[in-house]
Amino acid sequence: MNRVGRQGPFNNLRAPRESRVHERYLRHSKRFPNVWCAGCGIGIVLGAIIRAVDGLRLDKNDVALLSGIGCTGRMPVYVDFNTMHTTHGRALAFATGLKMVRPKMKVIVVMGDGDALAIGGNHFIHAARRNIGLTAIVVNNATYGMTGGQYSPTTPTDARAATAPYGHIEQPFPITELAAASGAAFVARSTVFHVQELEKYIAQATVKEGFSVVEAVSYCHTTLGRINRWGTAPDMMRRLKEQSITLGRAEQMSEEEKRDKIVRGVFVDRDIPEYTQLYDRIIERAQAGGR
């Protein structure tokens, strides 16, 4: 089931690329510029999604892009797919209904860390538990950017935030571990610095049958970064490069050594039955008289 995902469609990622692929996917009827601050990583994730979809040769009509609320929630409006900008934290639940009635559709859900894991945490773990064929992309900037830098479920302990003026005393959620433990079929993490890797993981997640999660580690230089004096966008981008290590390298390091590292790689890739396909069997069973 997964073989196509590992080889076929991804070969062309290495081939010479059209330089402005995104122009064929952005909505030119939409009034630009976009809402994001200069230097933000969310646009990089959007670019990676577009190039991944383009690389997979998917028909735009067969792709839905859903989001919740927040900076990342503003992403779908710019792209010429079937798009919904839903309520805070609930995008996965909306996507579940859509996927149930349109199982052939590639339903991609983009969320921020607060959207996916605080207000939407319940939907996140249950979508994973169900293993419904959605692609969840969590843009993790460790804060609520749109409302001005309050602490989120992934804000590092001891950081300062608009709502943690004396330092943050909670521990951050490990998104990939949470997704893996909840039953996701595919879990990967990359950063907005490692653009090609991010694109590859998004492509793999999109073709994966079952619930797939890609954590795209980003930053917010205008809120959390400013409050903590973490520097400019290039400074924070450089830190993503310096702090991150591959999964292979992480396996050779001690817990102490990798404590402040961002581990990149594919953490879970397993073939488990996808929900809408299982439901088709329920229909067959019901129509055969319940046997």
Binding site: R27, S29, K30, R31, K60, N61, D62, A64, I69, P76, V77, D80, F81, N82, T83, M84, H85, T86, T87, R90, A93, F94, A95, T96, G97, L98, K99, M100, V101, R102, K104, M105, N122, H123, H126, Y279, I282, I283, R285, A286, Q287
Partner: protein
């Protein structure tokens, strides 16, 4: 006669919750998402069994918030969809009901009302969600709410809820209550072929011209399902005709005007009610849902005693039938409004006919209003 798959003939003994589920199927509902809650759980149980038999789909979500979200998502996919809950769950659904109102997505929300507030008395009837149904989500928006008074009416109004929802691109609430939901009655269901089903109008324009929120002549722009070539955006933000977020008042105001206009101009179709001997009445009883059964008995008892009492039974409670009540009450001295709450729809009646004319008969302790209590209000001296 075309018997229903679950029955041997059209005449059967059926519970209100079951009638709701069968009505949904008869209306063309093929997706249900819900979360267990007394006294609405039976609707989910029936549909979990019935929907896959006819190629539909059922899912039990992690909570009511997710249930209504999945229902809206499925409706965007082009499938008639429904959820069912009770007061506490309806509270959780409100934000997404607002999303459905904002994006004009057809869906049916069944609320089998139980006594509140909070956990209240889960197995006792109530009409305590009348205002929640109208104003539960924030902001100004139109809503349609229907309230059945019998098992057969539950079937009919469930079909009607879907038809209104599809025709006007709006969420529709069906306000049942614990008694109607759990009561079993002998019902004669209509022939399946004879049931009127409204389907979502298709667009006639090519994808590049399609605007999901166009200021359409009929005020209800066609909604094309996702995945059929008309790619567009559905936002909870205020939006222009294409669905793109806007802060411009010259784009926000026309949307507001249109969504209210699409309901207001169709009131003659949307307002469902029964009136009885109103012409020469001195006193009018206005009731809805399960209480209208007690009210009808009270009206008959009063007439036997020679009193001229008219009866107005509302099936559509939102939008409120202002003109119907106003017209009926014009010559009257008294309007009696019995409700299983401490006065919710009575506020609307008072607004229309004046406070001095209205006698409220209320109970919010989980017990039914007896005909004698309504009769006393009819006969009470000035």
């Amino acid at each position: 006669m075309t018997p229903y798959p679950t029955t041997k003939s059209n005449v059967t003994l059926m519970q209100g919750d079951q009638a709701c589920a069968e009505g949904a199927i008869a209306a063309g509902c093929r997706f249900f998402a819900g979360y267990p809650i007394t006294p609405a759980t039976e609707i989910a149980e029936v549909l979990a069994r019935r929907l896959p038999q006819i190629g539909g789909k059922f899912i039990q979500m992690e909570d009511e918030i997710a249930s209504i979200a999945a229902v809206i998502g499925a409706s965007v996919g082009g499938v008639k969809s429904m959820t069912a809950t009770s007061g506490p769950g309806l509270g959780l659904m409100q934000e997404n009901i607002g999303y459905a109102a904002m994006t004009e997505i057809p869906c049916v929300v069944v609320d089998v009302q139980r006594l509140g507030p909070s956990t209240g008395r889960p197995t006792s009837p109530s009409q305590g969600d009348v205002m929640q149904a109208r104003w539960g989500t924030h902001g100004d928006h139109p809503i349609i709410a229907l309230s059945p008074a019998s098992v057969r009416e539950t079937f009919d109004l469930t079909v009607q809820a879907f038809n209104f929802s599809e025709r006007y691109r709006t969420p529709v609430m069906l306000l049942m209550d614990e008694v109607i939901g759990h009561m079993r009655e002998r019902v004669e269901l209509p022939d399946l072929e004879a049931i009127e089903r409204v389907e979502r109008p298709a667009t006639t324009v090519p994808p590049e011209w399609y605007k999901p929120f166009e200021n359409f002549p009929a005020d209800v722009p066609p909604l094309v399902p996702f995945g059929e070539g008309h790619r567009y955006h559905l936002p909870g933000l205020h939006h222009d005709e294409r669905g793109y977020p806007t802060n411009r008042v010259d784009e926000v105001q026309p949307w507001l005007d249109r969504v209210f206009r699409k309901i207001d101009r169709s009131l003659s179709e949307i307002l469902l009610y029964e009136e009885d001997e109103i012409e020469d009445a001195v006193t009018l009883v206005v009731a809805y849902g399960v209480v209208s059964r007690s009210a009808r008995s009270a009206v008959e008892m009063a007439r036997e005693r020679g009193r001229k009492v008219g009866f107005l039974k509302l099936k559509t409670i939102w939008p409120f039938a202002e003109e119907v009540v106003e017209h009926a009450a014009a010559r009257l001295h008294r309007v009696v409004v019995p409700e299983l709450n401490l006065g919710q729809l009575a506020l609307e009646v008072e607004r229309v006919v004046g406070r001095h004319k209205v006698r409220r008969v209320n109970r919010a302790d989980g017990e039914m209003i007896q005909p004698a209590e309504i009769l006393a209000a009819i006969e009470e001296r000035e």
